[in-house]
């Protein structure tokens, strides 16, 4: 007679299967060594630190500003991909699609507002993160390279926000991009050419909408993902967060 079913037993059984063992090769993480090996051997974890100081987990050490920015980025990627299923980057269809998302598509207004508010919150938090790091001296050696990566991430965040601004294709979008690209053309020597290439023409039209869409949905997110990976990896390589005595908790 078979033994009664138990979750623990089923998990143990699963761990012995060939498929499981081909994915999780290190065995259960029961000792410090196997825990470390589990992190080292995982693509998604290996650029995170194996160990962190307890102090750096205190709220006051970072207010989790960088982590929240990252989770907002994840939320933006997921909600953005979902929005892409209904959105055509063409005039005047883009405006109608935006209206459809608000009034016709099930949960469309939730996803659209989620994307919009998360984007605004992300810009706010990335700035806050930067100020927090700056006032704590987190840009000083050995963190100076990561500070520069962070500055580039701030710029990518702002460009993501700006290119997304055009996509609803309403009056606000049109005039914001008209004004913004006229600011670009104020650059000496190359300004007019940069404006022409970024708009794909002399005025904000269909070409501009398509270009901003491709930048917003493909080019800039790829750059952001690359820089975020480097940013996290550098935190580990530079010895973790900058912690101070005043951050609370046991000094370690």
């Amino acid at each position: 007679m078979a033994t009664p079913f138990s979750l623990q037993g089923a998990l143990e059984q699963l761990r012995t299967t060939r498929v499981w063992r081909s994915i999780f090769r290190r065995g259960p993480a029961r000792t410090n060594r196997t825990r470390s090996l589990a992190v080292f051997g995982n693509l998604f974890l290996h650029f995170l630190p194996v160990k962190v100081r307890e102090k750096s987990l205190r709220v006051r050490a970072s207010y989790y500003l960088g982590s929240i920015s990252f989770f907002l980025f994840l939320a933006l990627v997921i909600s953005g991909v979902l929005l892409m299923f209904y959105y055509h980057p063409a005039a005047p269809q883009a405006y109608r699609d935006m209206k459809d998302l608000r009034f016709v598509v099930s949960n469309g207004v939730f996803l659209r507002n989620l994307h919009r508010l998360a984007a605004q919150l992300m810009v706010l938090l990335v700035f806050w993160h930067m100020f927090h790091v700056f006032y704590r001296g987190g840009y000083k050696p050995p963190h100076e390279f990561n500070w520069v990566v962070g500055v580039f991430l701030l710029i990518v965040t702002l460009f993501l926000s700006y290119t997304g601004y055009l996509l609803p294709w309403d009056q606000l979008a049109f005039w914001a991009i008209t004004v913004g690209t006229n600011i670009i053309s104020a650059m000496p020597v190359i300004g007019k050419k940069v404006r022409f290439v970024s708009l794909g023409g002399n005025l904000v039209g269909e070409n501009a909408l398509l270009r901003f869409y491709v930048l917003h949905c493909v080019v800039l997110p790829l750059i952001a993902i690359l820089l975020i990976a480097v940013h996290f990896w550098r935190v580990q390589k530079d010895g973790g967060l900058t912690v101070r005595e005043s951050d609370g908790g046991q000094g370690k």
Binding site: W175, T178, V179, N182, I183, F196, V197, G200, G201, N202, L203, G205, E206, N207
Partner: protein, 169 residues
């Protein structure tokens, strides 16, 4: 170029000529790096050319503004589709751009002040386009205005006229 540098090195000291293999490797490395550099630069140039459109489907810059009789004496008429003011004075006609020279917003004619105001950043202009106040760096340009053979006004937004030039009808 790198080859002559290497041979001159060989004349000055015996070290370079005693290691001909290293010299050849260096030479080939430089040639390969240079070729890759030229190819990279070239691909940047062709990508830039690719991203600059050759054919644009933008509205024409020359338009007809109808018969001169449509515009009463001493009047300002805003043509919304073209973003141009047609002004008729005692002297004649002129066409002033309605696009603010600051950042491209559309200005408004305020008849009660006899001024042109920009809603975005507060630039103010006289009716002839010269600036009164605000961040606009240049006066509003005057566009070329002419009469067609069948007696209609025609404006060319690519041709800018100096201040004070008017079309007498």
């Amino acid at each position: 170029m790198s080859e002559t540098k290497k041979s001159s090195d060989g004349k000055n000291g015996p070290a370079a000529s005693s290691k001909p293999g290293a010299t050849r490797r260096e030479f080939l490395n430089e040639v390969a790096t240079g070729a890759l550099g030229i190819a990279g630069l070239g691909s940047m140039v062709v990508t830039y050319r690719f991203l600059s459109p050759n054919v644009l489907f933008e509205p024409p810059t020359t338009f007809r503004a109808g018969s001169p009789d449509l515009y009463p004496l001493n009047s300002v008429t805003y043509l919304q589709d073209q973003q141009v003011y047609i002004v008729r004075t005692d002297q004649g006609f002129y066409a002033v751009s309605a696009v603010c020279t600051h950042l491209g917003c559309i200005t408004q004619w305020k008849p009660e002040f006899e001024q042109i105001w920009c809603p975005c950043h507060g630039s103010k202009f006289r009716l002839d386009g010269t600036k009164i106040e605000g961040p606009a760096p240049r006066p509003l340009p005057h566009f070329s205005i002419s009469l067609t053979a069948d007696g209609e006004l025609q404006v060319d937004k690519l041709e800018v006229l100096p201040l004070g030039q008017v079309l007498k009808v």
